[in-house]
């Protein structure tokens, strides 16, 4: 991924700001501690007492006070890249917690429900919910009694006295135990 915008305007703006600060004397740290290098000073003869520090300090000052970002120095060779990418900590570990579901025979993880059995139950629950919807007719019509699901050939017993009965037109599945 390569950004098209060139860095020159940014650098130019930065340099302009630095130079402006220098001109206005707002960068005293550059000259090693003197408070106002351009302020009034003793008028002396000869070139001996000209502060030499200005010319020396100017060139490196712009480079020292800029914050440099970390960047790679050398291209990483493919050998080094391979060592990193193929290190055992990056390879996928083999899972040792896979078993066979005793109900359906599909594979399942030990701490997770069997996907096939769960899908089976989910489908049956969906059909029961459709029956409930047909009986209720609309939202917010849930009665305040328990619900019992009865399959083909089953009669409501003593225990199902005050409960709402949902009929399903199929044989009772083996995993749905009655009471």
């Amino acid at each position: 991924l390569v950004l098209v915008r060139s860095p020159l305007p940014r650098l130019r703006a930065l340099l302009q700001r630095c130079w402006g600060r220098l001109e206005r004397g707002l960068w005293p740290s550059v000259f090693g501690g003197q408070s106002s290098p351009w302020g009034p000073a003793l008028a002396v003869q000869g070139p001996t007492l000209i502060p030499q520090g200005i010319n020396d300090a100017e060139a490196p000052s712009l480079l020292e006070s800029v914050v440099w970002m970390a960047a790679p120095k050398q291209r990483r060779t493919i050998e080094v890249n391979r060592c990193r990418r193929r290190n055992p900590n990056k390879l996928i570990e083999i899972k040792r917690n896979i078993d066979v579901c005793p109900e359906c025979g599909n594979l399942k993880q030990k701490h997770v429900l069997c996907g096939y059995c769960y899908a089976k139950v989910k489908e049956e629950t969906r059909l029961i919910r459709m029956e409930i919807y047909k009986k209720e007719g609309g939202p917010f019509n849930t009665p305040t009694v328990e619900t019992v699901v009865l399959y083909e050939g089953e009669k409501p017993t003593e225990k199902d006295k005050g409960k709402r009965i949902i009929e399903r037109a199929r044989k009772r599945p083996s995993w749905f135990v009655q009471n």
Partner: protein
């Protein structure tokens, strides 16, 4: 790279290429250009299934059946697919299918389909008796055709991104998987070193 791209697109339009393909009638010949060639091309891996060995002599040990299968232009990165290919290298097919079923990666689903297809091919066409008696001898990934697209950033900036695709190749061999190599001990390395020292001779002498 932009020039090469443009050249690839316009290569079908060059008339001298049509006559160079060898047929007499330029209108009926097949374009030998890059873009059209790659659509219906049969790769080397697919052709490996076509080799026919001469019948084996009665005393020879039975040659195990080899089934080559691949899938081309899967929308996934070849480096990410490589980790899955490395996982199932050398496993039996049942173990490989189990590992792939519970892997969370996108390529796991694709590889699982490829393995099931290969297993079915083995049973139907390659005279394999038991579908569980297969192991994965080789599993490799290859780079598919990359496509460059524009990716929009903020402030009107854009970058070029590449949409990567990969191929996946698998070779199933009949029989139980080979036992894993024991890790090299220090004693073995020392023995090898001593053997190397013993193999030294004098050269260019009498």
């Amino acid at each position: 790279s932009g020039a090469a791209w443009a050249r690839g697109l316009l290569s079908w339009a060059r008339p001298e290429r049509w006559l160079a393909s060898g047929s007499l009638f330029p209108l009926s010949c097949i374009h030998t250009s890059t873009s059209l060639q790659q659509i219906g091309r049969i790769g080397k891996w697919e052709k490996k299934n076509r080799i026919v060995y001469p019948p084996q002599l009665p005393g020879e040990p039975r040659r195990p059946a080899e089934i080559y299968h691949c899938r081309r232009e899967i929308k996934y990165s070849k480096d990410k697919m490589w980790y899955l290919a490395k996982l199932i290298k050398g496993m039996s097919i049942d173990q490989a299918l189990a590992q792939l079923e519970f892997s969370d990666k996108k390529g796991a689903k694709v590889i699982k389909e490829v393995l099931l297809e290969a297993q079915e091919m083995a049973v139907r066409k390659h005279n394999v008796e038991f579908k569980s008696n297969l192991h994965i001898a080789e599993s490799q990934t290859g780079r598919g055709r990359y496509v460059k697209r524009v990716r929009c950033h903020g402030k009107g900036m854009f970058g070029m991104m590449k949409i990567s695709r990969c191929h996946y190749f698998v070779k199933l061999v009949e029989g139980p998987p080979p036992p894993p190599e024991p890790p090299k001990t220090g004693f073995d390395q020392a023995k090898e070193y001593v053997q190397q020292l013993r193999n030294r001779t004098l050269v260019h002498t009498l």
